[in-house]
């Protein structure tokens, strides 16, 4: 999905590195000593029961949450306690939310061009051309002039993906992108995500879509109680989970 000529050749550089990362909400510890390394081009699916810290983990990567201890490096940028480099990181990291978070007062095209124009300082025509290209990739160019409220949930989520891609991020985060969708709309969103994965995008996906995990994930990470309990290739993860907690979780969601 990216213009290959504009990108450095694929290397095994580290996209995200977390070492001993912890995070508290008041007295509740949401993340406990997380170690996770994601290489460029890797696709990671993160699953686990609700409250296990998976959303918090990926929200720390684009600084919607701030980690409180440990070391985090995202796309070569060391993240410290202060917020000075927040915007720098967010320019390189796109995020797709469970509830889309499209801007309802802007058309689809305006949603897609706002950040490229304001942040990347692109000209309107340049930003619109890019936006149309990505809207075509997510198969809804004909909706460009409509408002989010006029689209179905699946269409809105595809717009949200296109909107993120317009910033040409190097890493994409997905926070339960299909959880708020009607069943018949899940497929169209997953198809777009598979397409993106095949293009070599570095992706961290919080999801319980195990079919998607099997199909595209390089690794599946299982979290519980703020810790990473288990981390393995999808085949091994589904066929022979090592931990009891993982087995119990899988038996519940793979009914």
């Amino acid at each position: 999905m990216n213009d290959p000529s504009a990108r450095p050749p694929p290397t095994k550089a580290v996209a995200v590195e977390m070492a001993g990362v912890s995070k508290w909400f008041g007295s509740f510890q949401a993340l406990k000593d997380i170690d996770l390394t994601v290489l460029q081009g890797e696709r990671i699916v993160i699953c686990g029961p609700s409250g296990s810290g998976k959303s918090t983990l990926i929200r720390c990567i684009n600084r919607l949450e701030r980690h409180e201890s440990g070391r985090m490096v995202v796309d070569g940028i060391e993240l410290a306690a202060d917020s000075r480099r927040d915007e720098e990181v967010r320019r390189e990291v796109g995020m797709v939310f469970q509830h889309f978070n499209l801007f309802p007062h802007m058309t689809i095209l305006e949603n897609c061009t706002l950040a490229p124009i304001q942040v990347r300082k692109q000209s309107r025509s340049e930003a619109e051309a890019t936006a149309m290209r990505y809207l075509e990739r997510v198969r809804i160019p004909e909706q460009a002039g409509k408002y989010p409220g006029q689209l179905s949930g699946g269409q809105q989520q595809r717009v949200a993906i296109a909107r993120s891609l317009c910033m040409q991020p190097r890493i994409m985060l997905f926070d339960e992108p299909t959880s708020a969708l009607d069943p018949e709309m899940i497929r169209e969103v997953l198809d777009v995500m598979v397409d993106l994965a095949e293009d070599g995008m570095t992706m961290l996906v919080v999801s319980h879509e195990m079919g998607f995990a099997r199909q595209v994930a390089d690794r599946v990470v299982f979290m519980d109680g703020g810790r990473i309990v288990e981390e393995s290739a999808p085949d091994a993860f589904f066929r022979s989970p090592r931990h009891e907690r993982t087995k119990a979780f899988l038996s519940q969601i793979l009914r």
């Binding site: 967010r90 939310f97 499209l102 801007f103 706002l114 950040a115 942040v119 949930g153 708020a180």
Partner: protein, 224 residues
């Protein structure tokens, strides 16, 4: 010495109406500027900004407008600076309006779902850009009805400025009534004038709200 209520009395009332309108405009414009600054401070992350704004709002919301008028008119006079009734009224109403507008607008901004801020933040927009492009345009629509509602209150509230001798519509009515002694005619007429000012404002609010909301078609599932 009782005079008839004639066209010239009516003309006098209309002349005074100009001052009611002018005071309302000054209070609303001044109150908007100060109030918006207070709104921004009130929603800021920093306590050092939030706290003074909160104190300011509490003080002006929690004391009678009449006392504010007296304090500014007579109080500043005691300090040796002579303030004209017009100046005192303009200052008092501006402060009063700013406190209420700040609180109304804070509510409107906070009514915008957190996801909107997060969506904007995740796209690397800076705080000011998140506000300007994403949050404020949506808050604006929410803000129209309560803001116009307050403006109507404010316009009628300017009658209070009569107590410090500022000759606006209500004060003029007292003057006319004192010489014509026809309270029914005078005050009914004055009420009608206030109504003719306020009613179009409410109508304007309806139209504005509808226009700002033209993109809001029936909700589709999932939009939070």
């Amino acid at each position: 010495m009782i005079r008839e209520f004639t066209v010239s009395e009516f003309w006098y009332l209309l002349q005074a109406t100009r001052w009611t309108i002018l005071l309302s405009i000054v209070a609303f414009v001044g109150g908007s500027v100060v109030g918006f600054a207070m709104t921004l401070m009130r929603i800021a992350g920093s306590r050092a900004l939030r706290f003074p704004a909160m104190a300011y709002i509490k003080v002006f919301q929690g004391t009678p407008l009449l006392m504010q008028l007296f304090l500014i008119y007579f109080g500043i006079g005691l300090l040796g600076v002579q303030v004209a009734p017009w100046t005192a009224a303009a200052i008092a109403f501006t402060l009063y309006a700013s406190a209420f507008l700040a609180e109304i607008w804070r509510g409107c901004i906070q009514a915008i779902p957190r996801g909107q801020w997060e969506g904007a933040r995740s796209l690397s927009l800076r705080y000011g850009q998140q506000l300007r492009f994403v949050v404020l345009p949506q808050a604006l629509r929410v803000a129209v009805p309560p803001t116009v509602g307050f403006l109507v209150q404010l316009l009628k509230g300017t009658s209070l400025a009569s107590v410090i001798g500022f000759v606006e519509l209500t004060r003029a009515a007292q003057v006319v009534n004192n010489s014509t002694f026809s309270p029914l005619t005078v005050y009914a007429l004055v009420a009608a004038i206030y109504f003719s000012l306020c009613w179009p404002l409410s109508r304007l609010a309806d139209r504005l709200e509808a226009r700002l909301g033209s993109h809001l078609v029936p909700k589709v599932q999932g939009q939070v």
